[in-house]
């Protein structure tokens, strides 16, 4: 049985709701990439739906390389005790981008960073999109992608070398505290030093 929210969703967004299916009792809604944020915002606030709790954000890549990458949002309404799963399919040939939902749920912050880290999906509008589980200079790619071998791309020796070269306190600086916004707050001399590349370089 599909979720009772589906008719409302279809009425509100029409063609943006691509398809609806049920798997193991859970309703799955596929929405288009450009309307995903609107759909989620509507689901969060619309009276009668109120999926106010973001259970999870993740992504799925299928073994069949033709199939698109899916970003999965698990929503829950705490008051109505109902669930819905919203999926956004991303064509692998296009840039992997989707609107961030951090402005709706603060809890999405780290979840989206994790998806970015492990799948390489960019969330536009995310305040601080950095790698979270792997280190900042990790060079091998996105580990949960299917074209990423289980043991990584590099040899063990190279991995060890790179890991040891990664400075454990490299981010122990103001720049690190919040990379996205720190630069503007830096004192002018530090900004100049950064621009000169004394502590690193901007790109």
């Amino acid at each position: 049985m599909t979720s009772p929210s589906i008719p409302g969703l279809r009425a509100e967004f029409g063609p943006a709701v691509e398809r609806v299916l049920v798997s193991c009792g859970d309703t799955i809604v596929y929405v288009t990439r450009d309307r995903s944020h609107d759909v989620l915002a509507w689901l969060k606030d619309a009276p009668g739906h109120q999926f106010n709790y973001l259970t999870d954000v993740t992504a799925v890549e299928y073994r069949d390389s033709e199939l698109p990458l899916e970003v999965v949002y698990q929503l829950r309404s705490l008051s109505r005790k109902a669930d819905i799963r919203v999926k956004v399919a991303l064509d692998k040939r296009a840039p992997l981008q989707v609107r961030s939902v951090v402005d709706l749920w603060r809890g999405a912050d780290w979840l989206e960073r994790e998806v970015y880290d492990l799948f390489g999906i960019t969330f536009t509008g995310h305040p601080d999109l950095r790698r979270i589980l792997m280190w900042e200079t990790y060079a091998e790619g996105y580990p949960l992608r299917k074209d990423f071998p289980l043991r990584g791309h590099f040899s063990r020796a190279e991995q060890t070398r790179q890991a040891l070269a990664a400075n454990p306190e490299a981010h122990y600086s103001l720049e690190e505290l919040s990379i996205a916004e720190a630069f503007d707050e830096l004192p002018p001399d530090m900004r100049q030093r950064l621009a000169r590349g004394e502590r690193g370089y901007l790109k």
């Binding site: 792997m134 280190w135 091998e140 580990p143 990423f148 071998p149 289980l150 043991r151 990584g152 040899s155 063990r156 020796a157 190279e158 991995q159 060890t160 070398r161 790179q162 890991a163 040891l164 070269a165 990664a166 400075n167 454990p168």
Partner: protein, 209 residues
């Protein structure tokens, strides 16, 4: 960190000369005293990361009580620690940290690799995990198990005590540590390939490739 320094000379092929001082009555008596003190006052630096850390905590708790060995002072400052106990898996992201802590510990120092993951990578033969902390720091005692029981860890500690009691101050090579070369390996790459042919070693990607 002492890591970026390339090993200027490769000692792998040298014949190890053990000592410049021959053992005599004085050194053996001194050895006894120093080794007795060191073996019985091993202040651990608990580098607890994962499941093994819980078993390490159980070892420190009432039922097993490593305090009996004089080890209840957990030195979270590496400066005051004698034995680094790496309890749990070690991802590459943590590799420089353990190396740094090891470098910060004053001599004489020892290390125990607790559990399968620390010793060999365990079930985590994947992109993120160091396949054995002995690729990062020297290890004195490996304790197998996933996680090892507290009895296992205590047996490892007792083995380490035994090892310490066999040390001598006459051996000036005892605390010598080889630095990692620019390739990230202790041995030259060709030598690694040669040693690991034709099957590679347990994690066959450790080849220099």
């Amino acid at each position: 960190m002492g890591l970026s320094n390339p090993a200027t000379e490769n000692r792998a092929d040298e014949v190890t000369t053990v000592s410049s001082i021959s053992p005599n009555w004085v050194t053996t008596r001194l050895d006894f005293l120093t080794n007795w003190a060191r073996a019985n006052s091993l202040w651990p630096m608990p580098f607890g990361t994962a499941c093994c850390a819980i078993e390490y905590m159980a070892t420190a708790a009432s039922r097993f009580d490593i305090a009996r060995f004089g080890m209840e002072r957990q030195s979270f400052s590496p400066r005051q620690a004698d034995v680094l106990i790496c309890a749990g898996r070690l991802p590459f992201k943590l590799a420089p940290v353990i190396r740094r802590i090891w470098d910060q510990m004053p001599q004489p120092k020892w290390s125990i690799s607790m559990g399968a993951c620390a010793s060999s990578g365990g079930i985590f033969d994947n992109y993120s995990m160091v396949q054995g902390i002995d690729t990062i720091i020297p290890v004195d005692v490996y304790v197998p198990g996933c996680p090892p029981r507290p009895e296992g860890l205590m047996y490892g500690i007792m083995l380490l005590q035994k090892k310490i009691k066999g040390e001598t101050i006459a051996d000036d090579m005892l605390r010598e540590e080889k630095l990692v070369g620019p390739s990230g390996l202790f041995l030259p790459a060709e030598r690694v390939d040669e040693l690991s042919e034709p099957f590679g070693n347990s994690v066959h990607q450790t080849r220099s490739a």
